[in-house]
Homo-oligomer: 183 residues x 2
Amino acid sequence: MAPRHQPALDRDRVVAAAFEQLEEDGLEALSMRRLAARLGVQAPALYWHFGDKAELLGLMSARIYAMALAETQGAIDWRGWLVAYGEALRRSFAAHRDGALLCARARPPQAIEPEVQAARLAAPLVALGLDQARALSAQAAVIAFALGWAMYAANGPMRDHLAQMLDFDATFSQGLAALVRGL
Amino acid sequence: MAPRHQPALDRDRVVAAAFEQLEEDGLEALSMRRLAARLGVQAPALYWHFGDKAELLGLMSARIYAMALAETQGAIDWRGWLVAYGEALRRSFAAHRDGALLCARARPPQAIEPEVQAARLAAPLVALGLDQARALSAQAAVIAFALGWAMYAANGPMRDHLAQMLDFDATFSQGLAALVRGL
DNA sequence: ACCTGAACACCGTTCAAGT
DNA sequence: ACCTGAACACCGTTCAAGT
């Protein structure tokens, strides 16, 4: 067997480096060229592994959502699941610089058909007794609230001033609880 | 009196043209150079009227928020005001292509001090009997929900499929009502 | 299969110079 | 006061060519 060269890059290595770059300089500075430089490679090399930059951002955003989903466990009923998921989402968005903005801008990796995707997303809630349509809309509402809050908290007009007047996290939790109670 | 040349540009004309450009090609294509071309001018001319692109985007986002605020009237109590504001925000975000994304990304024009800004924002709710801290946090929650929903609705992973299963606007309204009820 | 070099068509922004 | 011309330091992406 002739020795085969190990490829310098693979998708996981690139995504990991992209998260590092994001942490250090924010979303605006996350360019394909800088990312390539960090990986010791020329920019076009990335296009062997990703169709375009949007695909990379989509994978990063999927990873942020997956992180929240992995933290959501042990719920007894669907309301409990939604609250746990909302809290996990907020932590997940806050865990990476510009995390919410990234998820807002990224087009999700829609490899599979929407029907399958929808069934998969709704599965945890369906297992707890919700029908699929209500599961999807409830989940969408919780994601919207967490996403919007994370963005507001990261960039809001009076963020600093607000932070002196109230507990940001507690207010989020109250809003989330209210939303889920009313669904 | 010697005749004075009318300036070709002013801030309002530029903002109006920017909204046209946004409608036609979306946020990604809203560049200073294209905007200048639409105005029959060279790109650096814009920098006489705006410090940078972020300032222009901030003004656009402020206009979107102001549009919602202007539509919010006739509320009898603070819950009614919040629901009306939330609905108006959703319409306002939807009224311009990439409206929610624009507002999410834009740094707000923070000309005035945060204390004054906070008091001004809270004023309608304070007039209806809420103290300022609760007014600000309630308003933040409603904005977060509307912003997040608009973004999710514009770009969601299963938007098309979801739209077949449920009424998007009705679901938003239910979520908003639930949130406000619980605050 | 995986990456480089060179190029194309763009960006935001600055700044001297024009009027 | 208000705008142009030219330039700087970047972008994402394509594509032939290398190995």
